[in-house]
Symmetry: C2
């Protein structure tokens, strides 16, 4: 009884080398398609002899795929922005994952993903480097009394954590975006490679990074009838009352506010502001990557209990306030930066050239953010 | 630019509670279907208004799904064997994953999976228990000079590993099956819960468990034209020359043969025999779960350079030889056990009642195997 799997079914044939480009790094082993050419065009293929219509949905555009005599549907895209993109195939109207792709939790479900490679030089900071010491990403489970359920977080420990058993480390809490989960920064964001590289080069302080589920990973249906204001809000009390104590009792952390940072992308940036700006006794470094986009609506001076009204007090207390966004997003982090400037609030504003609301923006944001934090150590 | 994702799209509606049963634990957050009733029947649903034909493929059987006026296709299965099953939906002839399911690497690709619950009592040994100390599963990356590439392994460290920084531990190398990868034992096999429970209860020795990729995780196309004899054979030299040295230099391990075990399921059982029986200077505990099924063909006395010919020497050297299988498999581990008995080779043979070639068989096998190994400590 072999379930849905078939043994030895394809062992007779060798995986074809595609003519259209190089197999994507995000493919499963031995899958020739999708592949990417030197113009950043990707060619996708799906064997679907009985389907009437197959489309590719990537980067906000739907491409019609063409069927050949063997029942293989294929399409080559326009040049795509470099970096990581979610995608789906649409088979007779149903969005499905590509069997040739690794899956990534995004879009409120498991999605296909493709990495469009940058140059070796540009991608070096988020690429595995065999010559560096490597940290570990640990999956940890803890019980939440608030949720009455098991929760899972991922914890990056730097290479030195294993070899120096007395050293304590500052902690960055790093949040994913809407429709994603605690796996996002590790799998789509390449955070371990970014940290490994910066720590080895002395660009950032050795630190622990904690990635938990922000309770905003679904778009299928609302939880308990949540409104937009409530969406993901259940995470903050869990983080403050359960996650931080769990981390501080399990790992060799530095536990004062000077040594605790929080950052997040998109909705995770919103959660970061919601969590840190009401709890500055616990955090002194804050980052929002393409996030916290709507709080200006009521006026800067009214936001977060008026925290921005006293710029001197704010600037004394918050050692890092970082805002980043992609140049192609058009979402409004630039407006927030302008309002903060007008109010005399010190911050760093970064724009990722040529990128949208997507993971290459956020890898770059993390890369810019890390050297700024925990400088006092 | 929001890629394939849509913000806020479904926040207005609350996820429905299904009438047919309880949402499966393997669903993504807020997904009501698939759900399971008290007779272990599962009900699946897919929104596919434009599809002409939708089937469910689970446990070796294809079910026709029925379309309702809203374009939702659904089916309720016959009672399913308890435990974890891979499944696919077949949309107009194309096997696809269910958007409502978490994905699991199996069948040579990312597959949907569903957990059919056992009773609380029966499933306790592989279920998260909030009252126990918990180990961690660490993702570690190392460079393989043999493959000229980065490799990934998962390493379970027991709860005490963090608190007693001088203790050294025995190591179990635990392999997945064909079409799976290094994630299988952790995600489908619940190995961390099994270890946490047994260690807390004093049923097995505290140990480190290493799960690497056996290079047999694809069925899409053969690698470099591999024959069946070569399939996955590239893993053994990597394990012996790169993985074991990496583990022994990174973790606090006991490095003698008395403290090193290897076990695997299905093709991983074959890899276990291929690796250990030619290298008994490095291993003294061996487990094969529904695996190593074909080696009797040439006669027991000729297998593995004749290792089974001298039963006394074998029994002195191999402290644990464990064979397990599901009662419904009909594959032949029982024949191997009989041949070993006839040859005077000491071993333990276990049959999992009512289960097929599937993960509940292997969870049970691991649960039986763990108390047998590292007893000399």
């Amino acid at each position: 009884m072999l379930s849905a799997c078939v043994w030895f079914s394809a062992l007779a044939s060798t995986a074809a080398v595609p003519a259209e480009g190089v197999p994507a790094s995000t493919n499963i082993p031995e899958a020739a398609y999708p592949c990417v050419n030197e113009k950043s065009q990707a060619t996708f293929r799906l064997h679907a002899p009985s389907a009437s219509d197959v489309k590719l949905d990537i980067c906000g555009k739907k491409y019609d795929m063409t069927r050949n005599a063997d029942g293989n549907w294929s399409v080559t895209t326009q040049p795509l922005v470099e970096g990581f993109h979610y995608y789906f195939m649409i088979v007779d109207g149903v969005p499905v994952t590509d069997p040739a792709s690794e899956t990534f939790y995004g879009c409120g479900r498991q999605a296909s993903g493709i990495e469009i490679p940058e140059s070796a030089e540009a991608s070096a900071y988020y690429t595995f480097n065999k010559d560096l010491p490597h940290g570990q990403v640990r999956e940890c489970r803890y019980y939440s009394d608030i949720e009455k359920a098991q929760r899972r977080c991922y914890v990056y420990t730097p290479a030195g954590y294993e070899t120096d058993s007395s050293r304590r480390y500052p902690v960055l809490y790093l949040q994913h975006g809407m429709g994603e989960d605690e796996r996002g920064w590790h799998q789509q964001g390449c955070m371990a490679d970014i940290l490994d590289g910066q720590i080895a080069a002395g660009k950032c302080e050795p630190m622990i990074v904690v990635m938990d589920y922000g309770n905003c990973g679904y778009i299928f249906g609302a939880r308990k009838g949540e409104t937009r204001d409530e969406f993901g809000a259940s995470f903050t009390p869990i983080m403050l009352n359960e996650l931080i104590p769990y981390i501080d009792s399990t790992f060799r952390t530095l536990t004062d506010r000077e040594n605790r940072a929080m950052a997040g992308l998109s909705w995770g940036g919103h959660e970061t502001f919601q969590t840190t700006l009401y709890n500055l006794d616990k955090f002194s470094h804050i980052g929002s990557f393409s996030g916290a986009l709507f709080f200006l609506a009521g006026g800067l001076e009214n936001a977060y209990n008026g925290i921005f009204k006293d710029s001197k007090a704010f600037n004394d207390k918050v050692h890092t306030l970082f805002l980043g966004m992609g140049s192609e997003e058009g979402f409004g982090s630039d407006k927030i930066s302008k309002a903060l400037n007008d109010a005399g609030i010190k911050h760093v504003y970064y724009t990722s050239p040529g990128t949208h609301h997507e993971w290459l923006t956020w890898r770059r944001c993390l890369n810019e953010f890390l050297p700024l934090i925990f400088k006092q150590n």
